[in-house]
Symmetry: C2
Subunit: 245 residues, 2 copies
DNA sequence: GAAATAGTGTCTTTGAGACAATATATG
DNA sequence: CATATATTGTCTCAAAGACACTATTTC
């Protein structure tokens, strides 16, 4: 290797950099991911995670935010966005060398997604129904990593409130945990543990109006980011029965 | 945006991609990071994390492994390597648009590092003595993220054994935790908790030879990756005294 | 009142941490 | 034997989870 005083485009191999998004939400009791159907080759007609190239003057986070807003049609209100991992196998895109910086977004239930110019269709897919080989590129792997990150973070952060509307009941928050973790939780113990975690939720003083049973208190998100003490994730219901055999 | 059938170099902005390494070890009771002194501009003479460009046909992980082996002079034996985060602010490198994929490496105490062609000098620096503005580029931020990742992972994984030689005593393992977390741990409780975490360590049956007191049993790393139950990180000794005021 | 959902009480088990006590080496 | 380090025992406290019980609504 020779020592150089400055770099020109000949000194380093050029890469394309994309931002790809794992956008998760909870719909009808299931953890769902936003998938688009690709319009162009490669993988035309195959579903993929939304994403696109990072602009030359654009922050990585900005690129992710822009694409998130475009797909969800929502000005980034209470949506959490964090960097996941970067994927850069030399052959992951047949066209050229592409490095994909993947992001994880958590959102409350949103209106139906918007199809973009480069995507025929978009939908919320329950993550458990996405086959390991159903997505373009290495997006199935990225999705898996994103789901696992979300599952882990619910244990020790207050991120579950990102899946809820601005105001919610204890039962709604519990159903978020149940959907993301794929478990059933004891309502009584959950209630106590959430209230014991300082700054997790903030009581509004009001109660829910309609409903069958006793009206539930209404909470908003609290100011804390980390859960102290954390909530522990039990084994999945299906795994528990499997282990009991 | 127009729809295109194929991409050429005009269709996307070219980026340089580097792999930068946070290589941590425990030396003389302190968590240390490998720093190099930059030979070239920008930041000539300033310390930085080791790293370099990713080759056109190279995996991101391969690029990190190669640079790790070059700097430590060690064929990657029991060294743990995992991806940390990717940093790509448009102005982080004054020469051009660079996206840096950062990696975290954990190693047992190694021989003195090797200076490379593009580095005047290399040394193990205790992480607590690296000032927030002492490193080139945004490497101080990367270092902070790496240290925090390592600290967190010792709680729920068996990675602490990566900081130990292939065989170690319970006290050596405990001193790893104490150095990384900056705390003092109760030897008795630590002993029990490590043995209670199935697959964390494997007894060899032998005992240490030299030493002042009762000879310690010698262990090797176990087969488990996650700690069940985890070890909990207490507040730093200094923070505990501060909180007591 | 029956059913449904929200919320509280209580008991058992488990693990964390403080610290006493014992074991086995060296000088 | 004094000292140093390793290892085991024991006690207390906090949190997790199971589950009985009470509270407040709708039909």
């Amino acid at each position: 290797m020779t020592i150089k005083k400055s770099y020109t485009s000949e000194d380093f191999p050029p890469f394309a950099v994309t931002a790809d998004l794992v956008i998760l939400t909870v719909r009808e009791g299931a953890l769902c991911v936003l998938l688009i159907e690709r319009a162009d080759e490669p993988f035309a007609g195959v579903e993929a995670l939304p994403g696109g190239f990072v602009g030359p003057e654009q922050t990585l986070a900005d690129a992710a935010r822009t694409k998130l807003a475009a797909k969800t049609g929502v000005e980034i209100a209470p949506i959490h966005l964090e960097q996941l991992q970067t994927y850069g196998e030399p052959d992951r895109d047949p066209r050229m060398r592409v490095v994909s910086v993947a992001w994880l977004a958590l959102a409350a239930d949103l209106p139906e997604p918007v199809a973009g110019v480069d995507a025929r269709n978009a939908r919320w897919a329950p993550v458990d129904e996405v086959a390991a080989d159903a997505l373009a590129f290495d997006h199935a792997r990225i999705l898996r990593d994103g789901v696992e990150r979300a599952r882990a973070k619910l244990e020790y952060t207050t991120l579950a409130t990102c899946f809820c509307p601005p105001e919610f009941t204890m039962a709604e928050l519990r159903r978020v945990y149940e959907a993301v973790w794929g478990v059933t939780l004891d309502a009584a113990n959950f209630h106590r543990k959430v209230l014991a975690s300082e700054g997790f939720v903030e009581p509004t003083g009001r109660s829910a109006q309609q409903g069958k049973g006793r009206p539930a208190q209404i909470f908003g998100p609290g100011s804390a980011v980390e859960l102290q003490p954390p909530l522990h994730r039990p084994a999945k219901d299906s795994e528990a029965t499997a282990a009991a055999r």
